[in-house]
């Protein structure tokens, strides 16, 4: 495993643990992140605020299916699961009701300088929505 791949696993661990201060340290000051629905976030604060909001309404975990790196770029295949903790009619991907589950299988490219990511782009390969059992 390369240093970039180890760092990426640490990054995802911080994300899944909602360790916002640790997460911030992975981002360059000029970080730009484009998520699968096209939303573009610029700067550490914008990203952390976005994820903090998502996690206030859903339980979200990301599983690394695979990651590998070359030069200053890392590629990852990710599986994300969202479970709505509350009704979220304005959730970025689609309206959710408490208990709904939403799965995303995505591909992402992470460009880094030293130990910091400065450009991240994600593309959704598959989505699956599972309404709560009594929904």
């Amino acid at each position: 495993m390369t240093a970039a791949e180890r760092r990426f696993r640490d990054y995802m661990h911080a994300f899944n643990a909602s360790d916002w201060e640790a997460l911030r340290r992975f981002y360059a000051a000029d970080i730009e992140l484009v998520i699968g629905n096209g939303t573009t976030l610029r700067g550490r604060d914008a990203i952390v605020d976005f994820y903090r909001d998502i996690k206030s309404r859903t339980s979200r975990t990301i599983e690394i299916v695979d990651c590998f790196s070359e030069g200053n770029m890392l590629a990852a295949e990710l599986k994300s699961e969202f479970v709505a903790l509350i009704d979220a009619p304005d959730f970025p991907t689609r309206p959710l009701q408490r208990g709904d589950r939403y799965y995303i299988n995505s591909f992402a490219l992470y460009e880094f300088r030293g130990s910091e990511y400065h450009r991240i782009r994600a593309a959704v390969f598959r989505r699956e929505f599972r309404p709560r059992a009594d929904g």
């Binding site: 096209g38 590998f68 593309a123 390969f125």
Partner: protein, 138 residues
């Protein structure tokens, strides 16, 4: 596959070059017999099905693919490629799976494509569209 990283990228670039010049034997050799293909316009299984699909496409469109980014996994087991695809409709193709095109329309899109490899061949190809959505250039 025991490529160095430059050789691995070169091997992949040769695939794209064959694709871009319509060398079906050349780029077809990169697909395993039972390749699983999840493209933007088709879900297919098998080299022959993929080549038949691209023959249909080539009858209607000029398609060029440009390598923007390349990440090769160690051991040559997987590739992640950022590809910019430009298509130019030579005829009307109103039933085109990714959206109707009229003769002369030119459309561009960018995708992250993951290729799984075994013994110098693609066993699975999966494409995910990067934002922004495809745009018409004229």
């Amino acid at each position: 596959m025991n490529f160095g990283s430059q050789a691995f990228r070169g091997w992949f670039e040769a695939y794209l070059a064959a694709f871009n010049r319509g060398d079906f034997d050349g780029f077809g050799a990169y697909y395993a017999d039972d390749v699983i293909f999840h493209g933007q316009a088709a879900q297919l299984r098998g080299r022959n099905a993929v080549l038949d699909f691209y023959r249909t496409v080539r009858d209607r469109l000029d398609e060029q693919v440009e390598l923007v980014s390349f990440v090769g996994a160690s051991g040559g087991r997987r590739i992640a490629a950022e590809l910019r695809t430009t298509v130019l409709a030579r005829h009307d193709w109103l039933e085109m799976p990714t959206g109707a095109m009229r003769a002369g329309d030119k459309r561009q899109s960018v995708n992250i494509v993951f290729y799984d490899l075994h013994e110098h061949q693609f066993t699975r190809v999966r494409s995910a569209r990067l934002w922004p959505q495809p745009r018409t250039l004229r």
